[in-house]
Symmetry: D3
Subunit: 198 residues, 6 copies
């Protein structure tokens, strides 16, 4: 498949790799990007950075939506807590700032994202959410040590098997996402820093 | 979407989560699984374990194929080296054994996979491949420390920008995959252990 | 010396230890607290939490002022960068949020603090500031490995001997401060989260 | 404020930074140093090294005395155990050797300091002292993980809230002190090595 | 004692150090090597590499036999499990591959060695063997933290005091062996990779 | 072979395992112990603790002597530096205190052992000895990362190939010894603490 043309002059350096011009992208990708732009008022940098590889772009966002947009036992704010806590542990600037904004909006809390990012043990969350974040962090940082007892503990805290899958899968997906954004060195859009703080 | 029915009696315990019966899966997923069965002679456990969530299954394998099956500067054996080295660092039993088998076959070497899994610094690889594995391991284990100088080093070793993306993206994808397999506790199929050793 | 009386009913739980009522504090401490309240519009929680021990309070702030308020080669914004970077490494919620606010104000940048806190290697700082932060982090995390070559590198980057002392002393002072705030579990005042973002 | 004059020729290299001549120091600092010299028979190197910055010197020793000289539930020997254990973890040569000497004297034990420095788990201490050292080490090495349960455990072991503050504050103060001495590379005075071994 | 002559031309580079020619070795060492060759069909590289130092060779194998060949509560397969798990943690290519082969043979299992090497927590072992491996890994990786409670746990799992000594001594002996093989960079003989897989 | 009889009443608890009575030991072991007692004035605890297993005792001391007593490029004091530095990293109380004493005696320095144990980077050693200790520590703590460049560096510092073997072999032998003493919890004899300080 031909790669989209790249115009490094007119596009801000938002990646260590070439960044495509929107007009040159395949239609489905262009439409997805225009849709997020319409909703957010700007194009989050990760969309253009990943669009350098259309097939990977499609798979990435299909996976993202399957985890983050579907119905399920975890609220959308709780899913973002997982993203922010594990992305902070991986020191992923893009993910912490962008998903910090989403967490503030979804939790309707201007404070929670900074708490979860800095030290999730000190964040204003429920004990059940704390158990969720403990397991997400174990999945992110030392998944090789996960044992059956972890499942028993989560079930005792009130999580269903599907909830446990969601926690692990979100932590795992952002393990990938954090590494991509760190290697590409994608800066968060300036808009994200202030969103949801009002 | 309705979940596939699960029959834990007739299916081996290959995951901590419910495992669907092949006949109950959506047609596209069933066909993909039958195709891999036809090619390999058995169904790798990760296919059935992930099929518990059809949408995630589809995204996972679309992403996998976009990285592992496409043409590119890295040989298929080199891509498997990245998988085996980083999966060993994450102590993912399924990925080390299954992709170790694929590496033996693709590299036509019965020894290389065990070397890369145990200590990639001691494996019989070229200096360029060693540079590739160093960067893959940095992406896998401390991507927050990746700096521009890493790119300069890889380019000096002969890698193109697209090769560097491939190395990082494969390491990142298996960062996700390792965590999923560790949490699910998927055992490698017995067949994988011996493949390619002959 | 008699301890200040403590009124845990009328004072918010801002520490794991008893928190004194302002009116019961020794005059010099009360005046210092009133002065910061007048300037900031609120009493930062660390003042009341530390006032549980008047002598330690006095030494703490004398030390703080000797490092953070004195003239010197490092700008006040640069000193706050050191505080935010090392406090984030120590996961000190109070210090990251409170000094993040001060950094935003002193650097006149609404973005810099979140960058430095999440991954200082990706922050919009000069190469000289990056060298400063590298040394501050080495002092904070593995000071036992500091060698003469570190000094040579800092001098080559343009730092005087007094600047190097300042970098190390600020990192060391907040190594103490972070541990105190983590053990006391002092929450940042809500006001800090939004300061300097406008 | 004018800095004290420095005479690097007549003073031994006891710091990577300039070391002041006693006669040039402000009177209060000179008197403090003469007093410790009179008591110990020599001037501990940390006094002259820190006197390079009079204001920081004053705050440092005010803080030190507020923690180490005040009455309280911890014996002076126990406070020195905390200093030696945490300073060994930080590989601070000055603090381990100098406070090892003080610990030998205060505990009237020629053996205890070397035990605490090498592996405090093997030292001849009471179970209560072992709990004290476990918490001091947690404060020193991973204070971000301190939780309410740590306090409950210490209270069950017989410590008051003020004792817990003391343990944490001493560990935190020497987290600072260790980093300063490591960066300055202050050697212990030869006298310290043999003190209290008789 | 005169060193054995070395013929680097006719001997494969199986060590970073000189490797002796069999015919030049002291008779007892030559006989030991011929005996293992007769039994195995080849000379394991570690024998020739260590024969560079005859006295150390003799002590090494005397120690090895005292632990691995003697009667005792641990089966020979269990002793090899300890070797493989701890050698994998130390990333010792020679020991993982050579003792992986012996484990396959002694356990009559073609799969167990790869499981133990990759993630012993996921290996098909009994709960008692899992307790054995947990303690072996603690001895190998953080023996400074071993406490009396570890012994109580092992005794509750059914191990005698002599068994506990054996577990610790085998883990300790291979802590030495792994470091020697890593520094010498001894490659496993090609024969080991396939042994016991049939 | 019959085990030596054990009399736990008349023997001090110097190990977590049974400690034999001298009179019940095999003659060669008894003679070795009496010889060291004659030379030192006391029986170092490690001799009696290891004598619980006569065959392992014989191999241990044969190995020890082959490394520590033989002629070679490293002085006996330098060999003890390696022991003390690596044993401190492993927090082995017995080895640090006992070999610290031997180091003081062999180096005719009352200060060197405490320096090497606390932070070998700050010890009064030559640059060549510093290179020796750097490599010994790498062997002890992360031998899997040893590469050819380490050898080149040591040769540039003036070490022969046999010297390099000695450094690595001593670090490896005490990796074993430290783990044994930590698991057995052997206390140093009181006499060691003061030896060589005079």
């Amino acid at each position: 498949m031909p790669r989209p043309k790249v115009d490094p002059v007119t596009v801000k350096p938002i990646s260590r790799f070439p960044v495509p011009v929107l007009g040159d992208l395949p239609q489905d990708i262009r439409e997805r990007i225009l849709k997020v732009q319409e909703k957010s008022g700007f194009v989050p940098n990760v969309f253009l950075a990943l669009a350098h590889r259309p097939d990977e772009f499609r798979a990435f966002f299909a996976y993202h939506d399957a985890l983050m947009e579907k119905p399920g036992g975890l609220t959308k704010a709780e899913r973002e807590m997982i993203v922010v806590a594990t992305s902070a542990a991986n020191q992923c600037l893009y993910c912490v700032v962008a998903h910090g904004a989403i967490l503030r909006i979804r939790a309707k809390s201007p404070l929670l994202a900074d708490q979860v990012a800095t030290n999730y043990r000190k964040a204003d969350v429920t004990p059940k959410q704390r158990a969720m974040l403990d397991f997400a962090m174990k999945t992110a940082m030392r998944s090789e040590e996960v044992v059956d007892a972890d499942f028993a503990g989560l079930e005792a805290a009130g999580f269903s098997q599907d909830d446990i899958w969601d926690i692990a899968a979100i932590a795992a997906f952002f393990a990938m996402s954090n590494r991509l954004a760190n290697v590409m060195s994608i800066p968060p859009n300036d808009e994200f820093y202030a969103l949801g703080r009002g």
